[in-house]
């Protein structure tokens, strides 16, 4: 793929959105044609954006299933890379929104407005990753720490709005860090492994 003699050149690089023609091989398919749709060049050229893009791609790679169509995951990844390519002021905020929504797309939707155990309408101020979201006082463990309402509000916005809304988010850095830590823990719990690229994301 990366040999100078490759007829695909720089088309088959990570982050590239490509239109491929594949020949079905015995174990792996063989790329016979590749056309570039978008290279997301700004994401490649900037370290902070590249680290966020890498975390997006890594998470999508872990959650996508072999030979299974996943349009929502694909479209979310495209939205994430497109938003990063606009060089947002806080790329890590775009990443957090992407990761939280990715968990939802993958079937691990975090419940924020109703109790994740009994469905009692909220808001509830305890969030438990293992339970999949907020818990009412009856279902919350007795030693659970309540979540700051500002963090809950940010999580709600991360999950609900378009990723472009996170570009220049003016949130309190303390609230932003708390929400980012919770999103990372939530995804790590459901993936069963941490995302390596997250360690290089600048907060």
């Amino acid at each position: 793929m990366r040999r100078p003699g490759s007829r695909f050149g720089g088309r088959l690089e990570p982050f590239s959105h490509v239109d491929l023609q594949l020949y079905a091989g015995r174990s792996l398919d063989i790329v016979t044609q590749a056309e570039l749709v978008t290279s997301f060049a700004p994401v490649r050229a900037d370290f902070a954006l590249s680290a966020c893009g890498s975390a997006m791609v890594e998470a999508a790679d872990h959650l996508a299933q072999e030979d299974e169509r996943s349009n929502r995951l694909f479209l979310l990844l495209l939205e994430g890379l497109r938003t990063l390519a606009l060089s947002p002021a806080t790329p890590s905020a775009v990443l957090d929104g992407y990761l939280f929504r990715l968990a939802s797309v993958a079937g691990y939707h975090p419940h924020l407005d109703a109790c994740a155990a009994c469905g009692a309408p909220g808001p509830h101020d305890v969030f438990t990753i293992a339970a999949g979201g907020a818990l009412c006082p009856d279902d919350a463990p007795f030693d659970a720490h309540p979540l700051d309402p500002a963090v809950t509000g940010l999580l709600r916005r991360l999950l609900g709005g378009p990723l472009s809304d996170q570009r220049d988010a003016p949130e309190d850095p303390r609230v932003r860090r708390a929400a980012a830590a919770l999103v990372a823990s939530y995804l790590t719990y459901h993936l069963g492994r941490p995302l390596r690229a997250l360690e290089l994301v600048e907060r």
Binding site: G9, F15, A41, F47, A51, R196, A197, E199, L200, V201
Partner: protein, 198 residues
Amino acid sequence: MAFEGPVQDLIEEFGRLPGIGPKSAQRLAFHMLTIDTEDARRLANAIVQVKERVRFCVRCFNVAEQQECRICRDPRRDPTVLCVVEEPRDVMAIEKTAEFRGRYHVLGGAISPIDGVGPDQLRIKELVARVGAEDVAELVLATNPNIEGEATASYLARLLKSMGLRVSRIASGLPVGGDLEYADEVTLGRAFAGRRDL
């Protein structure tokens, strides 16, 4: 079916080398059976010698037989310009061009967030220390033009420009003897972005 004794051992050893699959390993092992004992001994000796005598240059981390490599010891090289590369083999590739007369710094890889390789795993601290201690005025970032190399160059540019140095990046574009029609969009786009006056 596995072969017996030393032949199987040799196949397994060859099979551990990069780019050598089981069939190639078997072919190499059987080739060894056909060559002269003296040739085999010379090969074995070359492997032992490279492990015993070759080390990393204490200054630039290129491969060396002494404390410092041949390039760092050469007083004719320009000490004010440093070319930053990923691996020692990149030093050889640039030396073959005979276009660069400065010195090098070998990072030992590139930043790769997906593989969990960050700046701390590379010789970036050593580069910053060199820039502070030596009379360096310009850094040429010659990391590979792929995702990892670009991320590394971007990180280094941000870090080192703040130290008041001139930081440049090697150009990327069309290969000599290439054909525009077959160039991919990324490469051709870069060739245009980096065009120069004649």
